[in-house]
């Protein structure tokens, strides 16, 4: 299944001026576990979805109390620097919607 079919919420946002954080929320602990334990949500898989080097995916963190998974990346450029097109980092999550999770 696609991640978008399993998650109840998926968003991106600035975390400070130099980082992006993606929050993937799940309705149940079971779905959260299924995605986390699938082994498919890896730095390599995320890097592939964005065409970046895996080292740019700084962390993938399971947050048990919230049935949520957090992914952190550096921003393409610091927020609002010349050339900016998404100053809040609000529309950077779309490639994650398509990730296949068994």
């Amino acid at each position: 299944m696609k991640l978008s079919e399993l998650a109840s919420g998926l968003s991106s946002k600035n975390a400070g001026n130099f980082h992006l954080t993606f929050d993937i929320l799940f309705e149940s602990a079971a779905t959260y576990r299924r995605v986390l334990d699938s082994g498919r949500l890896t730095p390599d898989a995320v890097a592939n979805a964005y065409g970046v080097d895996p080292s740019e995916v700084l962390a993938i963190i399971g947050f048990e109390p919230g049935h949520a998974i957090k992914i952190n990346m550096r921003r393409r450029i610091a927020s609002g620097d010349p050339g900016e097109t998404d100053v809040f980092g609000a529309q950077q999550y779309a490639p994650l919607l398509e990730l296949e999770i068994p």
Binding site: G51, I61, F63, G66, K70, P82, D86
Partner: protein, 455 residues
Amino acid sequence: MIGGAAGRSAVLCASGSMGLTPFHHESFWAGIDRQPDVVAADAGSGDIGPYYLGSGHWYNLREWEELDLSTMLNGARKCGARMIVGSAGGAGLDKAVDLYFDIVRTAVHRDRLGPLRVARIYSQVTHDWLREKLDCSAPLGAPWPMTEEIIDQTSNAVAMIGVEPYLRALDEGADVIIAGRSCDDVLFAAHPIWVGLDRGLSLHMGKSIECGPLVATPPLQRESVLGVVYPDAFTVEPLHPAMRCTPASVIGHTLYERLDPYHQAGPGGTVDLTDVVYDVASDRMVKVTGSAWTESREYRVKMEGSGRVGARKIVIFGFRDPVAIAHIDEIVADIRREVTRVVGADGWQLYFSVYGRNAIMDGRDLMAGQSGHEIAVLAQAVAPDEATATRIAKLVKYGSLRAQYGGKFGKGGGAALPGDEVLSPDQEAYRWTIDHLVTVSDPFECCRVEIDTVP
């Protein structure tokens, strides 16, 4: 009551972003009826980019800042609450603290609310002070060290202060506190901490309500939210009848805008959220326990600095012809060559963002090969002076009209322009220069508190 065993402290968050657009009065006054100890709101954010900090231009409309501040002040006086506003003016510059102080003073006189003790907390830092702190600095988000050169490139810098200056203002009897750049959580946590409640619970409550309605579901904008700290727990509750807090909504907000969901770091220490428990307290209220404060060995404060890059002009042009769309890179390269021919190779920057292809994610968009049936190109020209930026923008505009590309259909085929004028959004481009932690020996090294009685 300082340091005493207060039973509770209730904090009303009037708005998730004071002054941005007017907040809704119904849920605000419903909050005032609950007799809060504090009416508070955050007016700033780093999200607004480096422009406002660097340029000192106003982020919000003054009329809306006057409206929100006056409403908060009247609400606070009605129930005898203190009023606290942090990160004045968006970027938290000293001049914004002065502006808010003027607005409050005018409202106190106009609405006959005095005498009131009004505290101002300034947290703008000077270039000289930053130079003294070079050895005690470390990068936070910025991938470069803080250096003399970086400080020279900085137009304005502010310290994101912790709770100590707020506690001092409360010690001195402040009815109203207007502060510069501050950690979002501390302005809501200040009163609970001041009356002796747990620091971890207070700061976690502050983080929970600082964005107002975002902690609740549905997150209706510009509605007020109430956070109450007790000796062993805190509660969060939205005040609009159609909204509610659920454990999921409160936990979801714990993740918001931060890299580490388990730790909430700030000046002087960290709130550990590892063992936090979120319980349903009513059909619209959540009770939180277990947020644990750990004091750090050093007191470190985040500094934000912004520096001018140059003057900025923008041009927007679009294409509907599929051949032009297929050759957009060729068109853009042709324009860039022409700019280079006329203004030279160096000293300017020109960014093309192709909407309909990959403007929003640029090189990170793997679907860039699948353009829409129409595209728009946003060209941003940045140069040391406005005249050069205008020259570049005019060359871009003309170049888009006269674009040459393979397979072009006859003499036409130039870009569709929304207008023939060069657009000037805010004229200037800035960039983040400083995003560093500085270790201080005293929290008051990077801020100062002044208090007046407004009759």
